[in-house]
Structure formats: structure tokens, C-alpha cells
């Protein structure tokens, strides 16, 4: 079910996912201010595990697939907005 999305598809989806994160978490930044390659945790946006569950929920509603952490991918998926967007692009069912 998963296919590798082209960089163009990921790039085009970035603003939508940024908007989704900012709205879901009520963040104090504009979606356009989130750097696509900066870390979402730690020194970047400073998200925590509660945020991850919130994001997972809105992703499942909007894009029709569930996140799971049974492999190391989880760290990679949440490493940056671009990585998360690429994962969504490859897994989405709607």
C-alpha cells in the first residue's frame, strides 16, 4: 500500500501538515514559520510525547491511517516536518 512519494509531492503537502500540527497543538507559531528540516522535538519545535499522540490522532482522521511504533521508523518519522510529511504521503489512504 505504500509507495515512495516524489519530493515534489512532499513539498506540496508541507503547508497542509504544518497547518495541521499548529492547529492540533495550539502552537504559538505560524505554520509557515516551521522549518521543514528542523527537528520537531528538542531544540526545534520542542514537542513532547503528548503532542505526538495528538498529532497521530489528527493524522489518522485526516489521512486515514494509523501510526505505530513497532520499529525504529518512529524516530525517523517524527525527526522533522519533511520526514513526517513524507511518511504521510506514502501511507495515506485518503
Amino acid at each position: 500500500m505504500s509507495q515512495t512519494p516524489t519530493p515534489e509531492i512532499v513539498e506540496a503537502l508541507l503547508p497542509e501538515v504544518a497547518e495541521l500540527i499548529v492547529t492540533a497543538l495550539n502552537l504559538d507559531v505560524a505554520p509557515a514559520e516551521i522549518e521543514a528540516d528542523a527537528p520537531l522535538f528538542g531544540d526545534g519545535l520542542g514537542l513532547d510525547s503528548i503532542d505526538v499522540l495528538e498529532i497521530a490522532l489528527v493524522i489518522s482522521k485526516r489521512y486515514g491511517f494509523q501510526l505505530k511504533s513497532d520499529n525504529e521508523d518512529n524516530i525517523r518519522i517524527f525527526s522533522s516536518l519533511r520526514a513526517l510529511t513524507a511518511h504521510i504521503a506514502s501511507q495515506r489512504t485518503k
Binding site: G42, G46, L47, D48, I50, L53, L57, S69
Partner: protein, 447 residues
């Protein structure tokens, strides 16, 4: 001197835990603990940060066999590690994954233990008055406060909970979404596996799909040990749930609505546990059955002026509680919220005094105050806000400094820079002032 067994099992062949490759017997667990005990450094303080519940518990047991004190701080931030090291200079860190231990001596959980199950011939006993575990709360002065638990009382604690949940008659497989180190997860997964007749799943499932996979990996009857937050996410996912026989929730208040939905969807009773790091767990209730809490076996409450004191049973000494409690009779009470300075976000506790101390200690911060807005809904997560006077610092820099000192969950969202704070003539910053400031500066954005 009285000694209490490491495990409550009657036979070495009983199942102690479930891992991805199947069941682990009591015999295997003991063999692993004995083998790991041989590898432990000489220091008498063990900071066990193992993520895997089984490896954590092997580490705990190995430490008990070598008479080491297990340090279980509320956070694993760099500042916490430094404070632990300052208080216990011989501390070493037991890890099972990537974890920055700074300059603390470190033992990585061996990938192959030289375990000899055939050599295990019984369950060892540990002196009842041995101080086995130290849990921490954030004090009001910036330094964490330690709460020691003796092995004897920990065993009583596990047994009292198991009795309340009916596990001594009928053991359950436990799936926990909470860490093994913190008080609730420690008591309701680790102690229940050791002395509550109920093997745990070694993982700590996080996403709804993970929780379902973990439940499917263990045999019925199943007990899900979770929090309102994980439970809310699990139900909101809309996924079909495997058979669950009991649900347990703690760390934060659960609304009657979410409790009813959980019971409905899982066709299982949901119990809430009330307790604190200082006292251990004290009482339970079935949320849909009413507001009253019933004390665990042996535990008593006493009213002393404004404070309610917990004592008896597995409680160490006389512990003043930080919640406002109305005692109904010898067994039952009502909870009316917490004292003003305390903060509980998604189950993590601290105090505003502690947070204010931490932010004020950052070079460049001239004045600062944390503020906890009124909760919007009992099941939602309310974030802290901080007002800060720091002309030389920017938001990113200050957040990075704070991240070194406090748990990420307490990071202010938002952080509001000010020219000065509206302190009154005595230098105080009353909550209503902060409330007003919050209304002016923050509440018009977002929600």
C-alpha cells in the same frame, strides 16, 4: 531480621512476564537477575532508565540482590541527572538504549546474560526494612525531594492493590502504557508482576495500534494500566479493541463521561487509583459508580488542621497529602482538587514554586513567573504559560535552557516576554494578576 521474598509466586515455573518471543518463567527471571547482579558496578545507587519493563525489573531485582538503592526520579533531564549525581556521588546508570548519561558511569544491559536457570533453586528473600527504592518529587526549592520505600512496604503496596483488583484470586496479564520507573507504573505493573500474581507485557505501547498489538500478544484475562490521556487517544482512534477484562487509570482526573465510554467500548470495569509519589497508592474507585474513593487495605487518613495525613498499611510514616480531601468514614473519602501551587500535567507533577525557581536560575532572566490557566476540560491537557523579563534572551534560547532543567511537558506554551512583571508592593505576584495578564496577552490567540 524479617525478610520478604523477592517474588510472591508459589512455583519457579509460573509465568512472570511476556516478551515478544513468549513467556518468561520465574526461574528464567531469577536467573537473569542473578546474572545481571554479577555485572553491576560497586556503587550503591542505581539509576535504572531501562525502557523495557522486563529489563527494568531484572535491573531492580539484580540491584536488590546486591543491596543497591534504586533511584527513580520523576524526569530524566540533564539537570535531574546532575542533581542525582550531586546527592549520590557513587551513582551509576543502567540503560537499555540510547540515552545521554552525561558523565555518569554507565552499564548497558547486556545483550547476552550468562544466565543459568538450572542453577536457580528458590526465590531469594530481601530484608523487609531494606530501603529499596527512592522516588522523587520536585520540591519547592529547586532540588528534588527523595521518598524512600522499604522492600517490605513495597511488597505490602503491591499486595494491597492486587487484593483490591481481585488479582490474587484471578491473575491478569498486564499491559501498561506508563513507564516502569514512576510511582503509578512502578506499583501497577512492576509490583503487581512481582507480588500481584499478574505477569506484565515487557513493552510500553504508545500509539493506539501498539496498545492493541500488545493486548493481542498476551492471554486473557487482561488488565490495561493506563492514563486518561492514552485511554482518550485509544477510544478516539475508533479501532476495534481486543477483549479487556479490567481497565486501570491514574495520574490525572478522568471524567465520568470518558470512564463510561471506556467501560462501554471495552465491556470491562474501569477503576481509578488515587495516590501520590510520597504516599504510594492509597485508594480506588470505579469511576462510573460514584465520586467516593475507598482506601486500600490497611491505609488510614487523618485530618490535621488543613492537611490530610495518610498512614498505616504500606504507607511510609505519616504523609501529608497535597490534595483537598473530605473524609467520609474510616474507609471512604472525596477529593476536592489540589492545593494551589501544585501542577499536574498529563500525570506529571511539579509545583509552580519549583518551575519559577528553575526559570529564574537561567542566566539572563531578570524576573519570571509560570502560570497555569484554568482547565478547559477534565480530559484535555492544559499547558503552562510563563511570563518572563529577559531582555538579552530570545524565545528559542530560553526554551533550550529550560529544556535542560525541566520536563518537556512543563515547557511554557506560550512564553511571553515582558518589560516587567506586575508585582505588588510586597514583591508578590498574585494569581489574579497573572490571570489578567494571561487574558490580555494570550487567550485571544489559539483556541
Amino acid at each position: 531480621m524479617k525478610a520478604v521474598p523477592l517474588l510472591g509466586h508459589a512455583s519457579l515455573e509460573e509465568i512472570f512476564a511476556w516478551r515478544t518471543d513468549g513467556p518468561v518463567s520465574v526461574r528464567q527471571f531469577l536467573a537473569d537477575a542473578m546474572a545481571l547482579a554479577e555485572c553491576l558496578p560497586d556503587g550503591t545507587h542505581q539509576l535504572n532508565v531501562c525502557q523495557d519493563r522486563y529489563r527494568f525489573t531484572v535491573g531492580l531485582a539484580a540491584g536488590l540482590l546486591r543491596r543497591k538503592l534504586s533511584l527513580q526520579p520523576a524526569s530524566q533531564s540533564a539537570e535531574t541527572l546532575r542533581q542525582v549525581q550531586a546527592a549520590c556521588p557513587d551513582v551509576y546508570c543502567l540503560c537499555d538504549g540510547e540515552f545521554d548519561t552525561l558523565d555518569l558511569p554507565r552499564l548497558d544491559y547486556p545483550s547476552e546474560l550468562a544466565a543459568r536457570p538450572e542453577a536457580v533453586n528458590g526465590i531469594p528473600a530481601i530484608p523487609a526494612d531494606f530501603a529499596a527504592v527512592q522516588l522523587f518529587t520536585s520540591g519547592s526549592t529547586g532540588a528534588p525531594v527523595a521518598h524512600s520505600k522499604t522492600w517490605g512496604r513495597l511488597v505490602l503496596n503491591g499486595r494491597a492493590e492486587a487484593e483490591r483488583l481481585g488479582l490474587l484470586r484471578r491473575g491478569h496479564s498486564i499491559v501498561g502504557t506508563v513507564p516502569a520507573q514512576h510511582s503509578y507504573g512502578f506499583e501497577s505493573t512492576v509490583l503487581l508482576a512481582l507480588h500481584g500474581n499478574s505477569p506484565f507485557w515487557s513493552g510500553k505501547p504508545f500509539f493506539p495500534l501498539d496498545i492493541i498489538a500488545a493486548l493481542n500478544a498476551v492471554p486473557a484475562p487482561r488488565l490495561l494500566v493506563t492514563t486518561p490521556f492514552h485511554l482518550g487517544a485509544l477510544l478516539a482512534s475508533g479501532l476495534e479493541l481486543p477483549a479487556i477484562d479490567q481497565l486501570l487509570s491514574a495520574t490525572a482526573p478522568l471524567s465520568a463521561q470518558l470512564a463510561a465510554e471506556a467501560e462501554n467500548r471495552c465491556r470491562a470495569p474501569l477503576y481509578e487509583i488515587y495516590g501520590s509519589t510520597e504516599s504510594g497508592q492509597l485508594a480506588s474507585r470505579q469511576t462510573t459508580a460514584g465520586q467516593e474513593w475507598t482506601l486500600l487495605s490497611g491505609v488510614q487518613l487523618e485530618q490535621q488542621g488543613e492537611d490530610t495525613i495518610a498512614c498505616g498499611g504500606h504507607v511510609e510514616g505519616r504523609v501529608p497529602l497535597s490534595d483537598i480531601i473530605e473524609i467520609l468514614d474510616a474507609q471512604r473519602f472525596l477529593l476536592h482538587g489540589r492545593h494551589a501551587d501544585l501542577v499536574n500535567i498529563a500525570g506529571k507533577r511539579t509545583s509552580l514554586a519549583y518551575l519559577n525557581h528553575q526559570i529564574a536560575a537561567i542566566p539572563g532572566v531578570l524576573d519570571a513567573a509560570f502560570f497555569l490557566p484554568d482547565e478547559e476540560s477534565p480530559d484535555g491537557i492544559t499547558r503552562l504559560c510563563a511570563f518572563v523579563v529577559a531582555p538579552e534572551l530570545n524565545s528559542r534560547r530560553l526554551q533550550a535552557e529550560l529544556r535542560q532543567r525541566i520536563d518537556p511537558i512543563f515547557l511554557p506554551r506560550p512564553l511571553v516576554f515582558m518589560d516587567k512583571l506586575p508585582r505588588n508592593t510586597t514583591g508578590k505576584l498574585p494569581r489574579n494578576q497573572l490571570q489578567q495578564l494571561y487574558a490580555e496577552k494570550v487567550s485571544h490567540v489559539g483556541r
